[in-house]
């Protein structure tokens, strides 16, 4: 549940911590994966089920979550497969991640109704019962205790909901499907949620929406920690939304120190790559719009860009060809330090998908989320507030840092265009969440946004609303903006973009 700390949040973080702890402490020569079996008992102790019908089921779900956290697929429910299968191969510094990234754990899914109008016990079986009178398909009848809706007849017009004087009738659907702007949630033969992988763009929003914690993504924390422990030089590239994610006392400088305390060599602001991106996108805009492309869509949000290309293939060329800030930053790191491994740390699940792309693979070795990073801090007992500030010898401009908040990307590009002496105003249209993006694309297709710069963001409020975040959106947005003001460079064009600091 977004913005709230629920038992689900707790379980998810406990799983990350368990996996990270083992990865940090294990004997590199001789693994004992029974540890993870025990993890399910540590996370769900006792004999009495807390959340579901049985502890055995609760633990079984934890075990599949652990497999996902190790980068492994969940096991089929109908054939036997050892829990530890594949774990030995996971203990590597190689990339293990594979599609599908976002997974429904089928037996954890409660098969919520897809869309239903239902009478609640607020119904007083009143004499007037306007619900029956307004129903156009005669689906409402009055039962012994309350009104009853014939689900086969109901066409979900909502008239009875409006008519009821007691607000006794409600309409509800699946939280996962309601969060999915790509309309990728379908049903399996048992009525459980199933993700249509052709439609899924790995935005990860269903993961935070499901109240039964039935959906989880795969992680690379195990491989990352293995790399650190094997003595690899690891560079961390942190997304602009990192500010404010780890509590009010964890200043940006302390977060950097914390990441280094994990054994990571250097920490780079991905805002640097955002500046590179702004310059490119401004150039693309000035060069191609409107001569070659009616409009230009930003490309930094992987889910949005993929969604636009998938759902409107004829407009695919209008999405900027610019590399995402993650890739631009990683390329720079690899150019300066060819032997180093790069981990991108961000709010985003879709960046995990992007890093599987053949063109991106050589630059980005691992992608983890802020929430996963928190698991690493916890496993290593790193107390951020105790650490000194590591100076982030500035890498990103104010505008690059503001990429994290919806509206920031377009603003950054517009500022570059303005600075280039371009006279006319550039009209901007923006959308966050794929539901809004879908509408924006429809307008674009209808020719209503010609000459515009389109900013698309899959997550509500931009990256600060990503599924891998810890902080509430408004709090995070405020922190990001304050940090942006601290940069000595205003726009991308002001950034010297020379060697990476610090």
């Amino acid at each position: 549940m977004r913005g709230l700390f629920t038992p689900i949040t707790k379980i998810r973080r406990q799983v990350f911590t368990e996996v990270a702890k083992y990865a940090f402490e294990r004997d590199l020569e001789q693994s004992d994966f029974n540890y993870f079996y025990e993890s399910s008992y540590r996370i769900i102790p006792g004999e009495v089920a807390t959340y579901r019908d049985s502890v055995f089921k609760e633990r079984a779900i934890i075990r599949e979550r652990i497999r996902l956290a190790l980068g492994l697929p969940i096991r089929p429910s109908i054939t036997h497969q050892p829990f530890t299968q594949g774990m030995a191969e996971c203990a590597t510094t190689e990339k293990k991640l594979d599609m599908p990234l976002v997974n429904v754990i089928p037996f954890a899914c409660e098969a919520c109704p897809t869309d239903r109008v239902q009478v609640s016990d607020n119904c007083r079986k009143c004499l007037a019962h306007p619900c029956t009178t307004v129903c156009p398909v005669n689906a409402v009848s009055i039962g012994k205790h309350a009104a009853i809706i014939d689900q086969d007849k109901c066409i979900k017009c909502g008239r009875c909901i409006e008519a009821c004087p007691y607000q006794a009738i409600l309409r509800f659907g699946r939280p996962c499907a309601q969060a999915c702007g790509a309309k990728a949630i379908e049903s399996d033969d048992l009525g459980r949620a199933k993700i249509n992988q052709d439609k899924c763009v790995s935005c990860g929003l269903c993961i935070v929406a499901c109240p039964f914690a039935a959906i989880a993504d795969k992680s690379e924390i195990f491989q990352l920690i293995t790399a650190i422990r094997s003595g690899e030089t690891v560079f961390a590239a942190v997304a602009p939304s990192f500010v404010g994610q780890f509590g009010p006392l964890a200043t940006p400088g302390k977060i950097v120190s914390g990441i280094k305390a994990l054994g990571i060599t250097r920490v780079i602001e991905v805002g640097w790559g955002a500046d590179v991106g702004s310059l490119h996108e401004a150039e693309e805009f000035l060069r191609d719009v409107p001569e070659h492309k009616p409009f230009l869509g930003t490309s930094c949000c992987t889910s949005w860009a993929l969604f636009a290309r998938k759902t409107q293939p004829t407009l695919a060329h209008c999405i900027a060809q610019t590399h995402t800030p993650m890739v631009a930053s990683a390329q720079k790191i690899k150019a300066e330090h060819p032997g180093a491994k790069v981990v991108f740390i961000g709010p985003c699940v879709a960046k995990k998908l992007e890093a599987l792309d053949d063109e991106v693979r050589p630059y980005v070795d691992y992608v983890i989320t802020f929430e996963e990073l928190m698991g690493l801090f916890s496993a290593k007992q790193i107390e951020l507030s105790d650490l000194p500030e590591t100076d982030l010898a500035t890498q990103a401009s104010r505008d690059g840092r503001n990429y994290a908040v919806a509206g920031g990307v377009a603003q950054a590009v517009v500022n570059v265009i303005k600075a280039s002496g371009h006279e006319q105003d550039v009209p901007v249209t923006r959308a966050d969440t794929l539901f809004e993006c879908r509408k924006m694309l429809a307008l674009a297709k209808a020719g209503k946004l010609n000459g515009h710069l389109l900013e698309g963001m899959a997550c509500p409020g931009g990256c600060v609303g990503g599924p891998g975040t810890l902080s509430q959106i408004p709090r995070a947005a405020t922190a990001v903006k304050a940090f942006a003001q601290d940069s000595p460079y205003q726009t991308a064009g002001d950034n010297t973009l020379e060697a990476l600091a610090p």
Binding site: L4, F246, G247, A250, S378, E383, L384, R475
Partner: protein
């Protein structure tokens, strides 16, 4: 009526276990208080690790007027504050 002092541990362990969400819940009370007949002032402070998380883990930890709440959750902390606001 008076000032209610609340300290929320913002150390790593407590933050991971939801301290920031508890802070948000407390801030939500400030708004609620303004609508009440007898509003009281709530003073929230994020404090560094209280060093209570080292052995057995019972966080997040919150102090309301000095009194320690273990396994703190939004609901228990809000109730403790509202109790003192009567």
């Amino acid at each position: 009526m008076g000032v209610i002092h609340v300290e929320v541990c913002a150390g790593t362990h407590c933050t991971m276990m939801g301290a920031m969400n508890i802070m948000d819940a407390i801030h939500s009370l400030e708004e609620l208080q303004q609508e009440m007949d007898n509003p009281c002032d709530i003073e929230v402070k994020a404090v560094p690790c209280m060093n209570l998380c080292r052995d057995e883990v019972h966080g997040p930890f919150v102090r309301v007027e000095g009194q320690l709440i273990t396994h703190a959750e939004s609901e228990s902390v809000m109730a403790a504050i509202m109790d003192r606001c009567k």
